[in-house]
């Protein structure tokens, strides 16, 4: 049974939720008795199906952050580009930010649409060995809003994992929205019958970011998701004119370096601000190609070439 059946009322808590059949929204729903009986809380068969489908994906990496606007999508996209620069590797990038899908623009794929075939949905290819899937490809206009509650978002994520014809992959990178909610729980749940390498957590040097990132780290621990490491974005700015460094987002509590030391987590790298990064993302180009000698590009390459990936 679908997580939110078609005949469910507006505030359906989802058939696999603890509230299934019991919430006030369930009154009058034709499925109420079935849900209340607990039958719908049996493990979702999709979990096993996804397990089988993704058994040909060697590495799965989630990119997480507690905070919004720290550069998760930028990192996910460029991690994908960097891994795919080895033409012998098959790489895919899955965007599960359902309300704010940035990946199509960053990958230069705005306006692309997804096609269906006998073997499922085809992802959109940037290069022969780099595939992308995002809800952005299912929306017909850049103004379309995805105004969905949790259960419907979960259903979409399930479809992305189960129904997309990914093929054999060396790497599947999953870009997430900020937070520790439906999207995060669902991606972990639906991947529970597969091996997930772990999560890369993105932060800026600020305490308001680290504060939320510590929660994200607790989330990972709670759901037993290994943490590959932390990347500190927006880590200083070198003025292109006078070459002096400014800390625009001052690490008032020691930045990611102190947090990683306190929590015994690897700090994968500190990426400085570079206006050319924003420009490349807006233009849908890889800044690793556009400005390979930028200090930020060097940090990215070091991160990717480390033994973590």
């Amino acid at each position: 049974m679908a997580d939110v059946p078609d005949n469910a009322p507006e505030h359906c808590p989802g058939t696999t939720s603890e509230q299934a059949g019991k919430s006030s929204s369930c009154e009058g729903c034709p499925n109420q008795k079935v849900c209340a009986s607990g039958a719908t809380k049996a493990p979702d068969p999709a979990i096993a199906e996804i397990g089988a489908k993704l058994s040909t994906v060697k590495h799965k990496i989630l990119v997480l952050s507690g905070k919004g606007g720290v550069g998760k999508s930028t990192f996910s996209a460029h991690l994908a580009h960097a891994l795919a620069s080895d033409s012998t590797k098959e790489v895919a990038l899955l965007d599960v930010d359902i309300c704010g899908p940035s990946i199509p623009r960053i990958m230069g794929l705005e306006g692309e649409q997804v096609h269906q075939s006998g073997s499922g949905w085809s992802p959109v290819y940037v290069d022969d060995n780099l595939a992308v899937m995002s809800i952005g490809f299912l929306l017909s206009s850049p103004d379309d809003a995805v105004i969905w509650r949790g259960p419907k978002k979960n259903g979409m994520i399930k479809q992305f994992l189960r129904d997309v014809d990914w093929g054999d992959l060396d790497y599947l990178i999953v870009d997430t929205p900020p937070g520790t909610s439906d999207e995060h729980l669902s991606i972990v749940q639906y991947l529970s019958a597969t091996h997930v390498d772990g999560a890369v957590i993105i932060t800026t040097p600020q305490e308001v970011s680290l504060q939320d990132v510590r929660k994200e780290i607790r989330f990972c621990q709670k759901v037993k998701l290994p943490i590959i490491g932390v990347v500190e974005n927006m880590s200083g700015f070198v003025c292109p004119s006078c070459k002096n460094t400014s800390q625009i987002f001052p690490p008032t509590t020691g930045g990611a370096e102190r947090m990683c030391a306190d929590l015994n987590l690897p700090l994968l790298g500190k990426v400085p601000l570079d206006p050319r990064i924003a420009r490349s993302c807006d233009e849908g180009k890889s800044f690793l190609n556009e400005v390979p000698d930028s200090p930020s590009a060097e940090v990215y390459q070091n991160i990717v070439q480390s033994e973590c990936f």
């Binding site: 606007g69 929205p177 900020p178 937070g179 520790t180 439906d182 504060q211 989330f219 206006p275 924003a278």
Partner: protein, 227 residues
Amino acid sequence: MAAVGILDVDLCGPSIPRMLSIGRPDVHQCDAGWVPVYADAQKSLALMSIGFLLEDPDEAVVWRGPKKSAMIGQFVSDVAWGELDVLLVDTPPGTSDEHLAVLENLKKHRVDGAILVTTPQAVSTGDVRREITFCKKTGVRVLGIVENMSGFVCPHCSECSNIFSKGGGEDLAKLTGSVFLGSVPLDPLLSSSIEEGKDFMQSFPNSATFSAINSISQALLSSLQND
């Protein structure tokens, strides 16, 4: 002096308590409901955030939509705000449970509208376009667009760098027929004030950033008064 309330409905990432240097006080009940936490002795700035209800500040709120919606419902209905001139609601990014829950619960009260915050980048305005659609579909008036992180003036040489691109906020306002309220530059002094929970407006009243934020709030207040 105006009485202002801030309702922080970013349940997974509640940042407002730290920004206002409120720490982790206990939230008390009174006959009328939960007493909000006051940022100042004069009680002119009231705040409610899930940050106050967590025993451990690093504790993650790992809740699915329905539970988040229920908490937000309580925050709106069960907090004894008292007489307020303005209630500001700070939301997480997105167009999902939290946003729908706030509007549903505020339906019986008047919602003046929404301020949309973007950075200059297309990647940001691309999402804000969808947020504008959300407002249209839910009948929320768009009071205006604010462009944050709008350029950085190097303190060493005064060269302005457009770190997160340029002009996106104004372009978005034109494209969508919305009011452009103004832009706020990147300012390490603002970043560190917020980090330390200090009142930036009091500490740096002569800064360009103060002037920018002030003119945005004046524009907003006139628009609210003209209603």
